[in-house]
Symmetry: C2
Subunit: 333 residues, 2 copies
């Protein structure tokens, strides 16, 4: 099933069911007001949503309407947890190599993960408002899962069954703020502004055979200012599966319903697959030519992140955003 | 006014108003079901809660009941943001000194802050369940504020007016997991299990003259296994005020209503004031004797964190917890 959250003037938006072809939507009224509410009581709510989804796909609903991604908030407009892994270790290795730093061997068997801000996500077509281009504005194309309640101590084998939904993410990063911030030792903070999510979140069964071993085996297509710059396969070179990332998260604490866990920037060793963040392109340039040439994003730049199924149909709808100068309060609702 | 969240079987609990002397409570029914709901619409909701608070203090309510901290969840049982500063730079300097590492001078004028997990907070008397004593279980006594909506780019002068409530925190830390985790460069994650909060959150006016310059000028009393081990003044040696911490948080993003910002471990340069986390005691021992003697917490240990006003009355009620072996799902509600 596919779910979206529509802008309705509230902080958490209005939950809607979206048809498989992303053409029609139907308010989930009488079932659950918000996606968080559905996740809080998934076993009771999900079957009702599934039923509506079936009727919508079969054209048996009367009050459906055209699905419009520009009316979407993030599926969870605010969440109680956003934990982002770095499962494509190839990406990490490239970054290190570019600055002549050795990567600890432990990075191949112990996931990297940071806690992100989750109180103010952007919808798929919301502008990315930032005060300064000097911050080194970059996109990061990722896949993410949403879990139900994951008890502390859950292992990877158990974690798989806690994955309820999947989404795409643009984990916007401010590259020029990262070195000083990481040097302080407490991880990312100002260098990670609001993240953006795909129009719909989908249940794993929507991925069919592409959902294997806790990974999504499909290319993630990233288009920057109209040019396709990357299409790495998200199932290739993902060193830690989503269940492994969840187990890492839950080692010393519970993860509660509605927790979002990200894959980290999708990256394949095969450089012909392109890049899903500018930083990686710059690293390759630095390794090849001793200097990075590709600049970071400028105000007015656009970024599109999408995933197509084997038949070329969009699964999650597209993240399709513009970077703009801002910094004043966003009037999003 | 003083607000608490009572266990009622739901994830977000039931909002209650608590009398100034912490003796009586009254359900905020007809006003707001949950504290998050009140924060989402503070200008409309707060005056109604204030009115109920006044009537409760004057004994003019009919349906009040005895306030029982053991029935409390954290004021926000789950929150959309928990960002913890490290404003008592003295503490950071001691930790560095103990391991012969120099502290960058920038730490005195640029706040340290990490993003914490906020999906699963503990109530003030909930057991701290952890799987292993080997992790180096430590308490951390802190003060925290809750904000309303803080627009991106808000400066420190503007930030003060966004502080709606204050609480005490036990930011439980797993010291033996920290070195390896920080060495990976992405900040704390597994080393920071669920944090615990005081029975009530209070509006700044409840602190009277003790609330000055965005700091709480009162001792934070920490009692470990029945012995008072620290009573540093939270207004002394706090290098960054709460408004400064909020401005740091909001530089590149909005902070939305219900964001919790912590002070970091309260610590005074005057070592006679004792300690609010064991790590600091161990650092002092290491500097003095070359070796740390005080062990971290053991299963069965108790920790009490409280703040008294000038007349010796508890302001927030006490965080009063036991550490116990766990790791299976918590049946808290």
């Amino acid at each position: 099933m596919k779910l979206a959250t529509l802008k309705d003037g509230t902080r958490d938006g209005q939950l809607a069911v979206v048809s498989r072809d992303l053409k029609n939507a139907h308010i989930a009224d009488g079932i659950a007001l918000t996606l968080q509410r559905a996740l809080d009581d998934w076993h009771f709510i999900a079957p009702q949503l599934e039923q509506l989804y079936e009727r919508l796909n079969e054209g048996r609903t009367h009050r459906h309407f055209d699905f419009d991604p520009t009316r979407c908030m993030a599926p969870l407009p605010r969440a109680f947890q956003w934990a982002d892994g770095s499962a494509y270790v190839n990406h990490v290795e490239l970054v290190r190599q570019a600055r002549n730093a050795e990567m600890p061997a432990s990075f191949w068997h112990e996931p990297l993960m940071y806690q992100g801000g989750s109180d103010d996500f952007l919808g798929p077509t919301d502008d990315i408002l930032l005060a300064s281009e000097e911050w080194g504005i970059d996109f990061e194309g990722e896949v993410a899962v949403i879990t139900d309640d994951v008890p502390m101590g859950t292992n990877a084998a158990q974690a798989a069954s806690h994955i309820r939904l999947l989404m795409l993410v643009n984990d916007v990063s401010l590259r020029n703020l990262i070195p000083a911030e990481l040097a302080k030792g407490f991880g990312f903070f100002q260098s990670k502004p609001a993240s953006s999510f795909s129009p719909v979140a989908v249940t794993p069964d929507e991925l069919g055979e592409a959902w294997q071993d806790g990974k999504v085996h499909l290319p993630l297509r990233v288009t920057w200012n109209g040019a396709l710059v990357g299409q790495p396969n998200a199932g290739v070179d993902m060193v830690f599966s989503f269940p492994q990332l969840i187990a890492h998260l839950a080692m010393t604490r519970n993860a509660r319903a509605g927790s979002i866990i990200g894959s980290g920037t999708v990256s394949n060793k095969d450089a012909r697959k392109g890049y899903t963040c500018i930083a990686e392109k710059r690293c390759l340039e630095m390794i090849a030519d001793g200097a990075a040439k590709t600049p970071f994003m400028q105000f007015g730049d656009t970024i599109r992140i999408e995933m197509l199924d084997a038949k070329g149909k969009s699964i999650f709808g597209a993240i399709d955003q513009k970077v703009a100068q801002g910094g004043a309060p966003k009037a999003r609702h």
